[in-house]
Amino acid sequence: MKIYPVVHKPWLCVASLVAVMLIASMVVSCDNAAQTTTASSTTGAAVVESTSVSTILPATVTHVQLSTRTPGPPPTDIPYPSPTLLLGMQASCQVAGYYPYLLRSCWRGTFNGELISVGAGRDRSVSDPNQTQLGVLIISQSPYLYYDHNPAIYYVPDGFGNVNIVSVSGTQITLAQAGYYGDPTPNGQTIIFDLATRQFQTVSGTPLPTSVPPTIPPHK
């Protein structure tokens, strides 16, 4: 059985340990070499007191494993939180790979008894901060927005620009004007998108023009 960690050039680490003992301030991470050498050596010359090394090495070297390891996958996995389907505003709208819309504000919840996901942002094809952004609202009838090949895509009314989701209440999604990077716009206007009618409207309820592009364009 191989003792881990493997030190391909053990003489280097022995030399380094000697150097460390001479220059106490050097940071050399050969704890493992010292442990391995001490455990396996049969000659006095190569043995270095691991306790001495531990005293010299700074405590900040935290990622060098002090125990031996057998080859193969880790015997136990470090537990990490089991993914759960979080409802409400999402921590991130990050997407792996290219997506033609840049969404920085995402929400997931139920509507008419079904899980839906909503993203707000802008069309990436217009990327000059000095130009008016094309704001979009994307609605998927699934809990995972980016998996949906055919979500409903609504461009916000002309001139309104990039948008963030402020809140979702009942059938109404409140959207606020946002800057180029999705940053909140001071004194920016807000509008409503009604999930029941699939229509933009002013906060006072006046319907606004609503267009629906057919599909997500291919990346070219």
Partner: protein, 333 residues
């Protein structure tokens, strides 16, 4: 600063007379979806499939202030799992170390019954990546996050010292759409001052970067939020940075050539291209590039002009680490 010139006509003519060499064997990089040691171990094991050298980017997603944080470790990322799980630099370092263990076991020809891949190990550079993506104006694209990232990378580098076949580096998906330039620049500068590890920019130009808002645009593209000089700085200009650009489709190589040309004309210094990153691992990816097309097209663009001529050593393709990924499945899948 030199005057920007559109050389597209000249290099288009030259490009007709040269042929790209065979592309390097493409490695697999990952949009990371979890910090499982087993998953990382097995992926690290299977990464040892190139007998020469390769680069693997482990992209841990957008930087955040971690919500669950060990003491003294308040920074992390949002992973690419569909649930957008947050993780810490501590968990990331453990996961990368497990990846390195896997690579090293393959290097030592230790059997792994849990995978079916064929190993053929050489050396590998493993770049631990994050991005400049901010969310709603709030994000951790900050010097403090960059310092935490550098500390983590430095720790993993120390860990990897015995494994001579592995080089630990950092990655940064710098995109003009993701944040303002000053935030991204501050992150990159802080990182490079805090670590001697190379920082590979595997980002994009966005749309074509302009020196001014009214500049002539050669490919019918609009101006990006950053200037061409700013893209250059984050990709080679700042000491310690190199370019490993996304070459997803046909406009990308042309734009990166223009950035390189800008560096030559302005600073008499070429960009340093470590390779390219494509986004589709299959043989047919139309309209996106497969790994061979991506590397060769970038090579042709760069080598059509003697001022920017170079031979990027690596090619990598980025895929999701697991099926639970916030990926937008495009037409090739």
């Amino acid at each position: 600063m030199g005057d920007y010139q559109d050389n597209s006509e000249a290099y288009d003519t030259l490009a007709e007379n040269i042929a790209a060499p065979t592309a390097p064997l493409s490695s697999t990089s990952y949009f990371v979806t979890n910090t499982s040691l087993n998953t990382h171990y097995n992926d690290g094991y299977c990464a040892a499939n190139n007998p020469s050298s390769s680069i693997v980017v482990l992209d841990y997603g957008q930087p955040v202030t971690a919500t669950q944080q060990p003491i003294g470790n308040p920074y992390g990322t949002v992973l690419f799992d569909a649930h957008t799980t947050s993780t810490t630099t501590y968990a990331i370092s453990n996961a990368v170390e497990s990846f390195i263990y896997g690579y090293n076991d393959a290097y030592d020809r230790v059997p792994n019954p849990n995978v079916t891949c064929t190993i053929n190990p050489g050396s590998a550079t493993i770049a631990i990546g994050t991005s400049n993506l901010i969310q709603g104006g709030v994000g951790a694209v900050s010097p403090a996050h960059a310092r935490a990232w550098a500390n983590m990378v430095n720790d993993v580098r120390a860990f990897a010292t015995p494994y001579s076949e592995v080089t630990v580096a950092a990655g940064f998906d710098a995109e003009p759409d993701y944040s303002n330039y000053s935030s991204a620049q501050a992150w990159v500068k802080t990182f490079t001052l805090s670590s001697t590890a190379t920082l590979y920019n595997y980002g994009t130009v966005g749309a074509f970067p302009c020196t001014t808002a009214s500049e002539h645009l050669p490919h019918g593209l609009s101006c990006a939020g950053w200037t061409v000089d700013q893209v250059y700085q984050l990709s080679s200009g700042i000491t310690g940075t190199k370019a490993l650009p996304e070459i997803y489709a046909d406009t990308y190589p042309m734009d990166w050539y223009q950035v390189d040309r800008w560096g030559v004309q302005t600073y008499s210094k070429q960009m340093s291209f470590a390779g390219d990153m494509t986004g589709c691992p299959y043989a047919s990816c139309d309209p996106q590039y497969n790994p061979t097309d991506g590397w060769q097209t970038l090579w042709l663009e760069l080598n059509s002009d003697s001022a920017t001529s170079q031979n990027p050593p690596w090619s990598t393709t980025i895929v999701c680490m697991t099926s639970d990924c916030s990926v937008h499945l495009t037409t090739y899948s």
